[in-house]
Symmetry: D2
Subunit: 307 residues, 4 copies
């Protein structure tokens, strides 16, 4: 099962669809190989960027099952199970673990405000999930819920099944540092992987993050930056990061980001079709041209780095 | 199937649970009889007040099936099928109709803003639902989406499967009047039933609504007020309404409302247990005492009206 | 100056305008007499319902000055000074006190989330305000900020210049009870006056509130209910309340409420014109007719109570 | 006065404060020279990034006056006058023009939703502002208001005093393209300057924007990119942009961005102190170190470009 020592790059996996909107389960295996070949040390399925809310529960489990078959135990799988009610969350988590997930991920519902409410919510989540280890997704931009450092520390201290923080407090770099300082003072250490499309990865690693959990369409960026940082060469990490940054930025466009990502994944052969399930945006010809320019320039820059 | 001539009182039905949080399907039949005996001309299942988001899909369908058996065709059933994605909406709607629903209800997702976005969303909904007639739930306080009158008229004009408006634009009385004026000018007439816990029922009827779709724990209020109004006695309608108003107001408390409603439904024998599925609030002793006082005073007032 | 023993009815005063949108300072004196004659024990100026954000700062101070002249020390005046920045808040508060205010009122900015943020904000407010006593306005429906009971207690304990809570946690009755229980256990007692248009006044008094701070257009309702409750006759308090409730409810309509209130205040001669400053809604003929009906029925009901 | 032919770089100016929070008017002149020397073709004062809501009205006018003296007619000044009420907006706009502003800027209030509401709001704004030309600020991330293209076109067509769009629909590149296509089809052409911290400047120019209106602490970036693009060398524009991008991204951190910007402006001698008026964040030592690293790397990159 997933535990607090996890590190590296957990890629947020896309969910592949056929042009008619049906699940493209055949692409799942191909996509898994694509991610693993580019350095993924874990996979996260059915997050917002996996279009989870657009799937039926049966489809969700089918995706996990197919991905788990393809992974065949090489890396752990985390499945998003955020739900408005605990019954659905419990059912989906149980199904996910049976299908092969090593852990699940839970974002807070938008209604939470006060410190005590947030702690109580995760205490209930832990009770609902039983033995299943879980990732706390801290993503205020989307959830509207701000989780202060003392609340996170209380959750980590009192809820052993919370083993990882998916940090994307936009960017909340000082939050990572505060958590690591608290650990230096005796608090329980948990894994911190960062999201936000990778936009702040060098700084996140510098502050003490264990890696990335995000789905940028060139996962070798996350792997390369993390490896260079781990090798004690932050300047090399930044050189690499900067080469990808124009596209990272472009893919981070709200509303369009996932469509851009799937377009590139399809271009790169990771999935068969760039299709998003409805409702979802289409990319304009201008956008497609900009992507092409950015990829060309990115490759030239990487070439000049001798990558 | 549901059509645009529907009127009267569509009661928003609670979902009964056992004290341990399991579904209490045995209470469903009893609750149905309770509602029908008090004047319901329709039932709405799995709205927000039916704790729909806390049910698994299998549970949702089980509730509809049991309710449909109990209703046995006496009145139409509407099932809430709002979902973040069309795949889940389609699946749930298909299941609901198979289980016996005469129509479904769809609220807009919180992300909609511009007029054209809202129309396009419902055009897609209609395509997804096929022949199934649907109710448009207009509830800005909860959805955050404001639907202007011209957009509603365009939806009604161009989407024949939209047969009813659940109006709860808090309270938006002038909106009802504007829609009815447009119909007088030739626009297609659809059914308008009003929510908001019944707080504005006399005025809503006065503006042209066809009745109520709400779940106040004394559904005889909605039936009585609607009947008196239909009988041409608005003063009698208001006398009756005023007798219930202190409790209507009390039940309308955000956050606590459903717990209060289920407590009263259990008191009245409509369901076996007042249990809400977690996460949900508990009622304090002070609250329980206030409810008791309000019910006593309500009964005294009704007695004095000779009801 | 305002202190923690304040009780009774602090009326939220309207700001009178001329038909062309100019300030109607001549109406201010008349309105003050109207409120005092109907039992106000204090006045609150420049809240949201006083259209404060639509005034220039010079106009705000002119209103306070004129009201203070009219009040001539008979009751304390509270002035709303919520501002996005402390410089404007300090300037307005200083001006308000010079103009005759006995205290000021501050609602939290919408950006506050975590417990510590809220406390820190009010600690800074107290520093900015110096000796001026202030009212904390707790109004989550409008501000989006939820203030938990422990945070309120910490503010009351550590910030002596916070002397009153304007409670409108919609309705948050258990919050009042929790605060009063804490006081019974030794916490500092402060004044609690309740808003929400008076919709929950009997219950608020039953839970331990010291009165009302709201602007319902029949302030004699708040005075009468509070007096009956203080006289140990909660049943009489409820009889009176129930007589006004249909109109209380009607005036509580979001968006339209202030226009309804000013229309009635003008009808009753409290102000010369019902004008709202732009942007503001106009009342439809249907709405005006409903108000007339509600006032007639209210009077009949009061007559039958022998009021 | 400002007109629809404006182009280039309108720098969003910081508001300089003394360490004690007082206005630092002496820095205003220095800052103006700093911006003009680096290619500003206009200045925008008192936007959100100018801490406008933290100033009293007298302070706001003092800042405009001092800036206008320093500019001495070399470039136009735009002053932010967004206000919850039209009285304050009118007063501030009048004062701004008297103090030397060539135009004003108005963002929509958060309450606007429907297409017609948005148009009506700007029609009222135009009436309130009279002859003063204004910039419409389209910034959904902060205002919560989405303005569809047809609404913008209607505003531009019917309101001649609206001469410029400050575009920051995060990033909304297709919106720029759609507006320019409409102009090609006969719609009135207005100036489009883009915000968003400059994060999408090359693409914005490619889609037809006339330049930037943003406050990145190296305004020579906006000037250089805009000039290269205007010179028909988009590749050069991108090379330059990419060199600054790591810092552009870093400065775009929500919550911290303005503090980072003022820190750099103080480092560069544009203002005497990096002080933000309270409430505002402080920068951690980690953050200061990251900024230093990013500036060093940026300079190295620019050197390698032969800039």
């Amino acid at each position: 099962m997933l535990d607090a020592t996890a590190r590296g790059v957990f890629t947020i996996a896309a969910t592949p669809f056929l042009p008619d909107g049906g699940l493209d389960l055949d692409s799942v295996g191909r996509m898994v190989e694509f991610y693993l070949a580019r350095g993924a040390t874990g996979l996260t399925l059915l997050g917002v960027m996996g279009e989870a809310p657009k799937l039926t529960q049966a489809e969700s489990l089918a995706v996990i099952r197919r991905a788990a078959e393809a992974v065949a135990g090489r890396v752990p799988i985390v499945a998003g199970v955020s739900s408005p009610g605990f019954a659905a969350m419990a059912e989906l988590a149980r199904g996910a673990v049976e299908a092969g997930a090593a852990g699940v991920m839970v974002a807070p519902p938008a209604s939470l405000r006060a410190d005590a409410q947030i702690f109580d919510y995760y205490a209930q989540v832990a009770q609902v999930l039983g033995d299943t280890p879980f990732v706390l997704q801290d993503f205020p931009l989307v959830t509207g819920v701000t989780i202060p450092v003392p609340v996170l520390l209380k959750i980590f201290a009192e809820i052993p099944s919370c083993v990882m923080l998916k940090h994307e407090d936009w960017p909340g770099l000082d939050k990572i540092a505060a958590l690591r300082r608290a650990e230096a003072g005796g608090a329980r250490r948990i894994s911190i992987l960062c999201g936000n499309g990778g936009q702040f990865l060098p700084e996140e690693l510098g502050r003490g993050a264990d890696g990335a959990m995000t789905g940028f369409a060139f996962p070798e960026m996350m792997a390369g930056v993390t490896a260079a940082d781990a090798a004690g060469d932050p300047d090399r990490a930044r050189d690499l990061f900067d080469a990808y940054l124009p596209l990272i930025r472009y893919e981070a466009q709200p509303g369009l980001g996932l469509a851009i990502r799937k377009h590139i994944l399809a271009l790169r052969g990771a999935i068969a079709h760039p299709t998003l399930r409805r409702p979802g945006p289409a990319l304009s010809p201008d956008t497609l041209a900009e992507i092409a320019t950015l990829i060309d320039r990115q490759q030239a820059r990487l070439d000049s780095l001798g990558t």
